[in-house]
Assembly symmetry: C2
Homo-oligomer: 202 residues x 2
């Protein structure tokens, strides 16, 4: 089971899908080339038939995580509604897999995946305003989801209950993270609307 | 040099300041209890005189990183200007030390540091709108600075030049990260203004 034929029997997509499954099961710190190779029953070196390095493999996993964004239809929506829909769906994509926000953040920083939202058409809005709003939404959503997933990870280790005193990092009062997220996202979308309206007047 | 007297000679603040220096010199992955103890010439166990666990020590470091936020004066500023000033200063604080965005993000998620901006008075704005805007700004700024610092770390390892093809993660066109950040922050601040104005009309 270590022949070259066996090492090459998996497609690039097989490898990325297996890595995504391992990410979801075990978390990002355990997503090593060795563990991915073991799950595929190949040698670690076999992974380099498909990926030049670990960052490229992780970028393919980020691509799978972000794939549902391509199916979000925004035709006919006002630009503000598009922005809220895309921001909400991006959070859904990131929360769908353990540690996905951190992984996607890293692939985005390395420039190995297309930034979500920013590259989409802005529904007729001025390109510079759409780009600024989409940039704000993308970094807000990735930052927020990373915060949520760090809390989940800490909670699973008993570290949240362990925290000294009160927990100022929790969503304030009795609001759920989903409500807090949505209120903040609306604020950005309103800014986009206001900027577009101001531009139209000038 | 391993007597209990020696182990207790450092104050809690000494320990946190040494850890901050090591963070800036060597990065977050190398910020272990052992390395901090070595730099102080004490046993690792001595650190537990001051901190119940590593998370508490890291939270004290996050507190040092965020300390300049307390000196940002927003009296007399319009709420929107406050928000832009605070967001910009938060980015400055995070960029002042290597890997600070990731470290502060983790302390915030654990609820071990007071969230910056959210806890400040909103200059007379309705509390719920200030909270939503401050939440948007905080997660946007932490997310953006984390992105910038991941790029710095990758660049220092030669990983940015190594990236496949173009670099969609770079600030678009010839805009600097500071300009891109500022445009997106303005968008959120405009949303806050618009929400306050809308509330005043209702």
């Amino acid at each position: 089971m270590t022949s070259v034929e066996n090492d090459r029997r998996h497609s690039r997509d097989d490898v990325a899908r297996t890595a995504l499954r391992l990410l979801d099961e075990n978390g990002l710190p355990d997503l090593t080339m060795r563990n991915i190779a073991n799950a595929l029953e190949v040698r670690p070196s076999a992974l380099y038939w498909h990926f030049r390095n670990k960052q490229s493999l992780l970028a393919a996993v980020s691509g799978l995580i972000l794939a549902p964004m391509a199916d979000v239809g925004t035709e006919g929506l006002a630009a503000r509604a598009s922005l809220e829909l895309l921001g909400g769906r991006l959070r859904d994509c990131l929360l769908a897999y353990r540690d996905a926000a951190e992984l996607v953040s890293s692939s985005l920083a390395l420039g190995l995946v297309e930034p979500p939202i920013v590259g989409r058409p802005g529904g007729g809005a001025p390109a510079d305003l759409w780009r600024a709003a989409a940039t704000a939404v993308m970094h807000f959503v990735v930052g927020y989801a990373f915060h949520e997933q760090q809390r989940l990870a800490a909670d699973s280790l008993g570290l949240l209950a362990d925290a000294d005193g009160a927990d100022p990092g929790a969503a304030a009062g009795d609001r759920s993270p989903a409500d807090e997220f949505s209120e903040a996202l609306t604020m950005i979308a309103m800014g986009f609307d206001a900027a577009v309206a101001q531009r139209a007047v000038l």
